[in-house]
Subunit: 191 residues, 2 copies
DNA sequence: TATAAAAACTAACACTTGTTAGTCTACTCA
DNA sequence: TGAGTAGACTAACAAGTGTTAGTTTTTATA
C-alpha cells in the first residue's frame, strides 16, 4: 500500500466536485482552486480533464464486473447471490461514494473509453439477469418479469451514493441487511 | 388545449438534449441546430438558457407535490396509497420522460429557483414518509426503517425515465402493477 | 395587396474554457 | 555542495460560451 500521490489527490478532489455539479460543469480552474493551486499546475500530474473521468469511471466499473462474476460462480443459492450483490454495491459505494456519482451520471462524457464502459455495463447486467433467471427456475424467486426485478434492484443500488453520506449512523452491514430485507422480501407485513 | 407554441417546441427539444448530455453540456448552438435554426433566433422565444431549465423542472416538481397531496388525503389504506404513488410516477414519467431526466440530474443548476425546488422536494418526501409511517402504525407495513423504504421506492421511481423508453411494449398500467408487486410484496416466492 | 407582427438571419460582444510554453522554487541525494 | 527533479507559477492561445443589436424574411390578417 504505497502512499497517495498528488495525482490521486487530484482525482479524489475531482470526483467530489463532479458529484456536486457534474463533469461538464466543473472547470479545471474549479478543480485547481479546490486543490489550492493554479489550473496549469494540474497538468504536471494529469494529461487532461478527460483522463480524470476515465480513471474514475473505468476502475470502478471493472470492480463491479469482477465482483459479480465471483458471486455468480459461487455455490450459493440465487437469493443469497442477490444479497451478495447488494453487499457488493454497499461496499463499493461506501468506499467510493463520490466516484459512484460519476459512474452513474457522467459515463456519457467518456470519449475514448465509452465503448469499453458500455461493454462492462452490459456484461454486468447480463450476469445479474442470469442470477435472477436461475432463481426463478429454482422457484426461489417469483416469476415476475426478470428485467423489472433487476431494474428495481439496480435503481436502488445505483442511487446509494446519494444516500449513504446522509446516513453515517448506519454501518455497511446494517444497511446491506435492511436493503436485502426490503428489496428481496418486500414491505408487506401480511405477505 | 391550445396548440403548441414555438417556445413549447424549444423546451421539449431542450429536455431531450438535456437528457442525453445534461444541462451543462448542451450549448445554445446545439439546441438551435436541433431546432433547425441559429442560436440567436432562440432568443425570440425564450429569455435565457436558465429559463428553459426552470420551466422544465418547476412545472414537474409542482405536479408531483400536488399529486402526492391528493393521494395522502384520500380515504385509502396505506398500501393502496403507496401503489397510487407508484402509478403517479409512472404516469408523469410516461408523459414527460425527458423532462424527468432534468428533474433528477440537473436540479442543482437552477439558479434563481433552487430554493423553491428544494422546498417542493422536501415537502414531497415528508408526505411520502407520513404515508409509510401510518402504514407501519396500522400494521400494514413491516416495521423496517421508513427512510429505507422510501429510499428504495424513490430510487426506483426516479429512475423510471431511464427505463420506460426501452420498454415500449409494456403499457403504463402493467408497469405500475408489476412495480407494485415487486416493490411492495417483494420477490421472495416462499415469503 | 398592403401592413404589421412573428420569427428568422448575420455579426459581434465579453467572458470562459481546456491546454501549452516557459520559468522559478524547493527539496532529494550523490 | 551541487545537480537534478517534482511541482508550483505567470502568461497566453484558440476555441467555444451565452447573449445582444440590428436587419431581413416569412406569415397572417385586414
Amino acid at each position: 500500500m504505497k502512499t497517495e500521490t498528488r495525482k490521486d489527490e487530484i482525482i479524489k478532489t475531482a470526483a467530489k466536485l463532479f458529484k456536486e455539479k457534474g463533469y461538464s460543469a466543473v472547470t479545471m480552474r474549479d478543480l485547481a482552486t479546490a486543490m489550492g493551486m493554479k489550473a496549469a499546475s494540474l497538468y504536471n500530474h494529469i494529461n487532461s480533464k478527460q483522463e480524470i473521468l476515465k480513471i474514475i469511471i473505468i476502475s470502478i466499473a471493472e470492480e463491479f464486473t469482477k465482483g459479480i462474476e465471483v458471486i455468480y460462480n459461487s455455490n450459493n443459492n440465487s437469493l443469497d447471490k442477490l444479497s451478495q450483490v447488494i453487499a457488493l454495491h454497499v461496499k463499493i459505494t461506501t468506499n467510493s461514494t463520490n466516484e459512484m456519482a460519476s459512474l452513474n451520471n457522467d459515463w456519457m462524457h467518456l470519449e475514448g473509453q465509452l465503448d469499453h464502459y458500455l461493454a462492462l455495463r452490459n456484461n454486468y447486467e447480463a450476469t445479474f439477469i442470469k442470477i435472477i433467471n436461475e432463481g426463478i427456475s429454482s422457484s426461489e424467486i417469483k416469476p415476475v418479469n426478470p428485467e423489472i426485478i433487476m431494474f428495481t434492484m439496480l435503481s436502488t443500488l445505483r442511487s446509494l451514493f446519494l444516500w449513504i453520506p446522509k446516513k453515517e449512523e448506519l454501518n455497511a452491514n446494517d444497511l446491506a441487511n435492511n436493503l436485502s430485507e426490503v428489496l428481496v422480501k418486500g414491505i408487506n407485513k401480511k405477505l
